[in-house]
Amino acid sequence: MDLTTSRSTLRQLHTHAARNGEPGTVTQTQEERLAKGLGWFGIGLGLMELVAPHQCARMAGLPSGHRPLIRVMGLREMASGFGIVTQSTSAAAVWSRVVGDMVDLACLSAAFLSRRADRSRLTTTLAAVVGATVLDVVTAQQLSRGVKTRNGAVRVTASTVIDRSREELYRFWREFSNLPRFMKHVRQVDIHDEQRSHWVAIGPAEARIEWDAQIIEDLPDEIIAWRSIDGAVIDQAGTVRFEPAIGNRGTVVTVDMEYRLPLGTVGAAVAAWFGKDPSQTVKMDLRRFKQIMETGDVITTKGQPAGREESTSWKYDRAVR
């Protein structure tokens, strides 16, 4: 089996995309596409700086006479660009763009001091570079955090091996009122009936989010799939699968979630800025699920003594809540 491609052919269960009749044909995430776009833009801009430094300087409102410097900047711009378009995981290359942006900003600020500079053009250039910097930072951060947005929906997968039988794990999970014990941002799940439930969670900026969900597939000891009912603030769908680990080593639990935040990619970026990194959150949730199933408890240091005002270490824990 080719593990590289089988990832993208994971069952596209009941996701929004599938419902809209666009099954998961898009293999590139929005973050990756954005990064590639930035990469090609960088190559283009770099090429211009390289072959026509004089014209570039005039357009940007820079004082003339810095041709070698502009050519070097162009080369740097192109190097970052090539890094992004040639690598499959391009977070580091996008971060190198951020470093380049800082250099650009510093040079442009220095140019303001020159009498020969065209201030109004320079201001426009500076604004453009600030804009590009923000885009670069957000893209780099999303890539670093493994945020994957497809068709406007964030997709998160995580798995863990738990030394318990499929039956035990399925039973605990299927009792949805258990979920807040290990899903840190889910405060409460009320069961309406066999299919429907009401969820309360804490979202970005401590906002309270509520939605109704329904089960759309339920194979005892194997799989549970759910999705939010139309009209929910967070349109989401998820599956949890329980498969026997090879070598009789317990059960592999895989969570596959997809959700649309209001404003799509921007919403996902905003959420990440507020410390709700979805892939990390799902990973930590699964880790806590494992702790409960294997040890009966979620291990914590919250409430332990320390020689400081704020009594414990949980800011490290909270960083992923």
Binding site: V161, D163, R249, G250, Q280, K283, M284, R287, K290, Q291, E294, T295, G296, D297, V298, I299, T300, T301, K302, G303, Q304, P305, A306, G307, R308, S311, T312, S313, Y316, D317, V320
Partner: protein, 388 residues
């Protein structure tokens, strides 16, 4: 209660903090009767380990009496006298079931951080940065001990604290280092670093059948203690360690080499300043000077065992030597719990009295001073034991 807390580089203070309470169902509270300063804590003291927070309670070598147990505790009772293992281990996960306790999958609530650094997280450790869970340590009057059934050994008979205290870390650590060498009859074992772990590695190598142990350090009192333990010694400031090792092994090299030094290694000459500089420029986190030498000196097909602590990235790793000489490298945080029973038996039979390593005894209130003299290797300091 009083506790010794970290406040920054070479800044420890004994301050009043709230008493610990039961936070998980399998916790116990232990009233500390003896606690020690570990050499690996000097890496925290010198601020080489990231994610320390002002006010973190130090200490991962301690023992005492259980005064409270959580509702899920099965095999320990109030009044039990116990030694506590430094790694925190759940006893139920894949690794704990294999008795690889320092790799417990469930005991580090901040595992995500260690995963970013190492790919996977080791177990939680008391008082050893937030990377390993940020658990409050044992240089205090009371400690919360998670998974107390798994993490402690009951001391039934009449041993003194100093005879059994080191089951918490340095004795099993030195022992595991020697055990990893798979010592055969007639073997020569070379050990870099004669601090407390090195001392236990020397004695453990003999317990496991080594013919000859060669110990390398530069402090006279440490070399003296090594010779007391039966080792031949090399002062690396007076002679080239590699040359001398080759001379005494007929050019073949020691059968196994133990790096009991770790990331703050020292050596005369330019290579040391090269690593020091790279460390200062943050392009290398650890100075692998002893490790490089151990790899170069080890005989073909031999074993390099690394109990010394490393935290990040090293530079100029002689991988060519490792590959072409068919070396085996074995390492790891100690699975201390795995060694509780066999080592307590050895102490009981009189094969070893671990209290030999203690050079200084003081009150917990003097812990900052203890760290200072231990760090500067002043006053012949090798191991400090403190009582509350």
């Amino acid at each position: 209660m009083k506790a010794n807390c970290w406040y920054g580089k070479r800044d420890m203070r004994v301050v009043d903090v709230p008493d610990p309470t039961i936070l998980n169902r399998h916790d116990a509270i232990v009233k500390v009767t003896s606690t020690a300063i570990c050499g690996s804590e000097l890496h925290l003291y010198n601020d080489f380990v990231p994610t320390m927070e002002q006010g973190d309670i130090m200490g991962h070598e301690f023992m005492g009496e259980i005064i409270e147990v959580g509702p899920a505790v099965k095999d320990r009772r109030v009044g039990d006298r116990v030694v506590v293992a430094f790694p925190i281990s759940c006893g139920h996960c894949f690794f704990c079931k294999k008795e690889l306790y320092s790799l417990c999958e469930n005991s580090n609530p901040n595992a995500w951080m260690a995963e970013k650094l190492f790919g996977h997280s080791p177990a939680g450790i008391y008082g050893y940065s937030h990377l390993t869970g940020g658990f409050a340590g044992g240089q205090a009057e009371y400690v919360r001990v998670p998974f107390v059934d798994v993490g402690t050994v009951k001391i039934e008979t009449g041993f003194t604290d100093e005879q059994v205290l080191f089951l918490s870390d340095i004795f099993p650590t030195g022992y595991m280092a020697a055990e990893q060498c798979n010592i055969q009859e007639g073997d020569t074992v070379a050990i870099w670093g004669c601090g407390p772990v090195g001392q236990f590695a020397i004695r453990s190598a003999f317990l496991l059948g080594a013919e000859r142990v060669i110990a390398i350090d530069r402090f006279p009192e440490r070399l003296h203690m090594a010779r007391d333990g039966g080792a031949d010694t090399i002062n690396y400031e007076e002679a080239d360690g590699y040359d001398l090792l080759m001379q005494v092994t007929g050019g073949r090299g020691p059968d196994s080499c133990i790096d009991a030094v770790g990331l703050e290694a020292h050596m005369p000459g330019p290579l040391y300043y090269y690593d020091r500089l790279k460390q200062a420029m943050m392009s290398e986190s650890d100075r692998p000077i002893a490790l490089r030498q151990a790899i170069m000196a080890c005989r073909n097909g031999g074993t390099v065992s690394v109990p010394g602590v490393y935290g990040g990235m090293i530079d100029k790793m002689p991988m060519g030597a490792v590959m072409n000489k068919a070396l085996t490298i074995k390492t790891g945080q100690t699975h201390a719990q795995h060694y509780f029973k066999p080592l307590l038996e050895r102490i009981g039979k009189g094969e070893i009295d671990p209290s030999f390593v203690v050079t200084h005894r003081m009150k917990l209130a003097d812990a900052p001073q203890g760290f200072d003299i231990f760090n500067r290797k002043e006053d012949g300091c090798i191991k400090i034991v403190m009582t509350p």
